[in-house]
């Protein structure tokens, strides 16, 4: 039976299958080219990019926790101009949708990064990170109020002509309200979840494990929270939802799709198995064959 895994997220963002990579966990894609054929992915979302270069937080930035990890990278990157000049020409060769994850300290910052990315045809979409828990100003502040989310979405919408994904924070009382605010200002889709704010202490040394004390929790530990939030948001908004948080295989990805996600992203699992993304595509394919599914859309939002 012919199987259609392709998904259309709107405003030109078409993926050959629903599997993408999560920002900050997949570098610029090329780091994984020894292990997988990136052409087989629906899309790849590159590292968080800001207007100016950022050194990020002090070491230690990582701690393993039960079925997950905390990170406090703090958006280390060389800035949007460096990305455009040095990295973009190298990673354009992949036959898969390139999405650039964008962060800023003010709505104008976000808009300026997007304005500079706009002329690059190879950037199919921007994913607006209004939810990073690891930077002092901006970041999560925008993601935790409807006004903040609306202001950033409005600014980016005016600056970028193609698909705009707004990435939501789980560290809020009502994630659906934030999603609705982004939708109202013209977001083409929303992705969730970013990391959950967490903390771990090294009791031997009597010190926090991270230099920043608190950080962002990711990995399988967060998956049930993420599935629940995707389910709630998918019921509330009309735009497509991209689900992520703790996905490690095709089965996990299907949970999000059944909860209402049109596409999914795989993050932390890339550290454990650098070939996990392509395996997930194969596992989804296999599932569809076993269950007589001819279009992935048949499974979307069935719960």
């Amino acid at each position: 039976m012919e199987l259609n895994l392709s998904v259309d997220l709107g405003r030109g963002l078409k993926l050959k299958n629903p599997v993408m990579t999560a920002s900050g966990t997949f570098g610029y894609g090329e780091e994984f080219a020894d292990f997988i054929n990136l052409d087989k992915l629906g899309g790849y979302i590159v590292k968080g990019t800001t207007l100016n270069p950022r050194e990020g937080n002090d070491y230690p930035r990582m701690a393993e926790t039960p079925s997950g990890m905390l990170n406090a990278v703090g958006l280390q990157n060389k800035g949007v101009d460096y990305f455009i000049r040095e990295i973009y020409p190298r990673i354009q060769r992949f036959d898969s949708a390139m999405v650039v994850n964008v962060s800023g300290a003010s709505p104008d910052d976000y808009a300026e990064v997007c304005r500079r990315l706009a002329p690059l045809d190879g950037v199919a979409a921007v994913e607006v990170n209004i939810s990073c828990p690891n930077v002092k100003q901006g970041g999560m502040a925008f993601g935790t109020t409807c006004e903040g989310a609306a202001a950033v979405t409005r600014a980016v919408r005016a600056a970028f002509p193609r698909h705009v994904i707004v990435k939501l924070s789980p560290n809020v009382t009502s994630v659906t309200d934030i999603a609705l605010a982004a939708e109202a200002e013209g977001a083409d889709s929303v992705s969730l979840i970013n990391t959950l704010m967490g903390m771990a202490i090294d009791v031997e040394r009597r010190r926090p494990c991270l230099s920043t004390i608190t950080g962002g929790l990711s990995g399988p530990a967060v998956r049930p929270v993420a599935v629940r939030m995707v389910w709630q948001v998918a019921k509330a908004v009309k735009i497509p939802v991209i689900g992520l948080g703790g996905i490690t295989c095709g089965r996990d990805a299907l949970e999000f799709i059944m909860a209402g996600a049109t596409a999914i992203e795989i993050g932390t699992a890339n550290f454990i198995d650098p070939a996990v993304t392509v395996k997930a595509v194969e596992e989804i394919t296999d599932y569809c064959h076993r269950h007589g599914i001819s279009d992935i859309a048949e499974l979307r939002g069935i719960i």
Binding site: G27, D34, R61, M62, E64, G68, M69, F271, A275
Partner: protein, 258 residues
């Protein structure tokens, strides 16, 4: 050099220093060749394969022998993941991503070099010594440990080059730290060092004093090992850089140690 995900099989395991270390000898499980061109300083991301450990653990190449197809790892039981790895048995499988990271630099043949290892930091020094010797430079090792029983692979080191030893309790060699050994005062074309951070810092200071060039191998905590997550950074004169891709070996002039 292409990075690969490979299942290895353990063909030999020896516990060293009263069960606190294991020397594992491995071959590619399906009988195929080892990845070409693996060199001293590089490491593998090892799947500990045990409950409660999710991320891979970085472990240095202790020795690689293309003639026999053997790869050796020297592992200290430092926590949950390395505990599980040291408790594996002959015949068990170990999944690794390798080769990762950069290598030590090679001096001109006949150079005067000192290879300093502390604790499990001796691991990469064995393969480095073997490579230097093959290139016509006689390696001189300076190995430090708490006590005689903690000195690892002494037979292997002695087969490869001249060995100096320090122990903190004086049970063998010079009493004290590696930097208390007179060999440390001489000038070398290169001092190579791997061990606990405080030890590497004091070796770096003494190399500076004697006018020797010095390379150290850092052991920052890692998540991906591939340059993708930016968790393993070290402050350098070029800003924060990833130890897993731009290291683990750094010339001390690149670091902001003083």
């Amino acid at each position: 050099m292409k990075k690969q995900i490979i299942d290895f099989r353990i063909i030999d395991r020896k516990m060293l220093a009263g069960d606190r270390y294991a020397l594992l000898k491995l071959v590619v499980a399906d009988g195929s060749q080892l990845p070409e061109g693996i060199r001293a300083g590089q490491f593998a991301q090892v799947d500990a394969g045990c409950k409660g450990v999710m991320l891979r653990r970085p472990i240095s190449i202790n020795k690689i022998d293309y003639a026999t197809g053997e790869l050796w790892l020297l592992v200290r039981d430092a926590g949950r993941g390395t505990h599980a790895i040291t408790r594996l048995s002959e015949g068990d499988m170990l999944n690794m991503v390798l080769p990762l990271g950069n290598t030590f630099s090679y001096p001109a043949a006949g150079s005067k070099v000192l290879l300093v290892g502390g604790g499990v930091g001796v691991a990469p020094m064995l393969q480095l010594g073997i490579e230097l010797k093959a290139m016509g430079t006689d390696p001189v090792f300076l190995l430090g440990a708490r006590s005689q029983t903690d000195l690892l692979e002494l037979d292997e080191f002695s087969r490869t080059g001249k060995v100096h030893v320090t122990t903190e309790d004086g049970s063998m060699g010079v009493r004290g730290f590696v930097t208390d050994h007179p060999a440390m005062n001489e000038r070398y074309d290169m001092v190579y060092c791997c061990g606990p951070a405080p030890m590497m810092k004091s070796v770096a200071r003494s190399a500076r004093k004697s006018g020797s060039a010095c390379e150290v191998s850092l052991e920052n905590m890692m998540a991906c090992g591939l340059g993708a997550c930016l968790c393993c950074v070290e402050k350098t004169v070029k800003g924060n850089v990833c130890v897993c891709t731009e290291g683990p070996v750094f010339n001390i002039d690149q670091l902001t140690w003083n």
